[in-house]
């Protein structure tokens, strides 16, 4: 799968993935992204259409970058994979913390 992303876009996706994992809503996000993947192009065109309405009100910095990224379905897949990888890391970290807590409790006894 060839993912065509520039550094700025890759950073943006990384930031989004990290935020999703930190909020612990990865399962829901993966479910949503995977379900809407076939409609990604339509979504991007909708964003382009609403650009003149949204931008004067909210003035999002990365609006055009997001529009470009959503256009390609492979970028959504890349984001999902990134979320999965970060989630796996989080699970391992949580397991280590739990183990450390248990050991601390045993030490007190």
């Amino acid at each position: 799968m060839a993912v065509d992303l520039n550094t700025r876009q890759a950073e943006l996706l990384e930031k989004v993935a990290r935020r999703i994992v930190d909020l612990r809503v990865s399962a829901m996000a993966i479910f949503l992204l995977e379900s809407t993947k076939p409609l990604s192009f339509l979504g991007s065109q909708l964003l382009v259409f609403f650009n003149p309405i949204i931008q004067p009100i909210f003035n999002f910095k990365d609006y055009e970058e997001v529009t470009d990224m959503i256009e390609n379905r492979d970028n959504i897949e890349f984001l999902i994979q990134r979320i999965e990888r970060l989630q796996e890391e989080q699970i391992l970290r949580d397991q280590e913390i739990k183990r450390a807590k248990k050991e601390r409790k045993r030490g007190r006894r």
């Binding site: 799968m1 399962a27 993966i30 479910f31 995977e34 076939p38 994979q81 999965e84 796996e88």
Partner: protein
């Protein structure tokens, strides 16, 4: 029903041809695999002269042509549902429901092509296509009729949603051998 019977008989013939082609493909696969293992052996023996040949395996599954009675039952059910909707809500809703039902059952009514390549697994149907790199897939579950490849190293509710299901289609051993070679985890 007789025309349906003829149609399915015709598909049966096509299937037989497909099966022989599959056998040929299997033979091709075996030969490339043999070449590949030879290449690997060469690499092990002499790293400078080793040539790596990437084997691939592809097959097609078409459930409609596999069982006459099951296919007839599905088509009959579809006709009954569409007829019920048309008499209840009208022809426009019936056509819409027929389209939705056909779309959701596309993998049953139309052939789906599967390919195990050196880099990725790809599934191509009439309305959708899916491609996953081997590096992303972590685990596989072998069932009676197929194998499920999962991107999660531990059991997850999202497995069936994010994974790839590969029906064997008469190539059980080749598929399992290929997956065994590509994935480290032998689960």
């Amino acid at each position: 029903m007789s025309s349906l019977n003829k149609l399915l008989r015709g598909q049966g013939k096509e299937r037989t041809v497909g099966a022989s082609t599959q056998r040929n493909m299997g033979a091709t696969f075996s030969s490339t695999q043999a070449k590949s293992s030879e290449g690997i052996r060469k690499q092990n023996g002499d790293a400078t002269h080793g040539t790596e040949i990437n084997p691939s395996l592809s097959w097609t599954v078409w459930p409609l042509s596999q069982s006459f009675w099951r296919s007839a039952a599905v088509i009959l059910l579809l006709i009954v549902v569409v007829w019920a909707i048309s008499s209840w809500l009208g022809i426009a809703w019936a056509s819409l429901s027929a389209l939705i039902l056909l779309g959701s059952l596309a993998s049953f009514f139309f052939p789906t092509h599967y390919r195990l390549g050196p880099e990725s697994v790809s599934v191509r149907g009439l309305l959708s296509s899916k491609k996953r790199n081997w590096s992303v897939l972590k685990k596989h579950y072998v069932g009676q009729k197929g194998v499920h490849l999962s991107p999660y190293p531990r059991p997850s509710r999202l497995e069936s949603f994010r994974g790839v299901y590969l029906p064997f289609g008469g190539k059980r051993e080749e598929i399992l051998n290929f997956i065994g070679e590509k994935m480290d985890c032998g689960c």
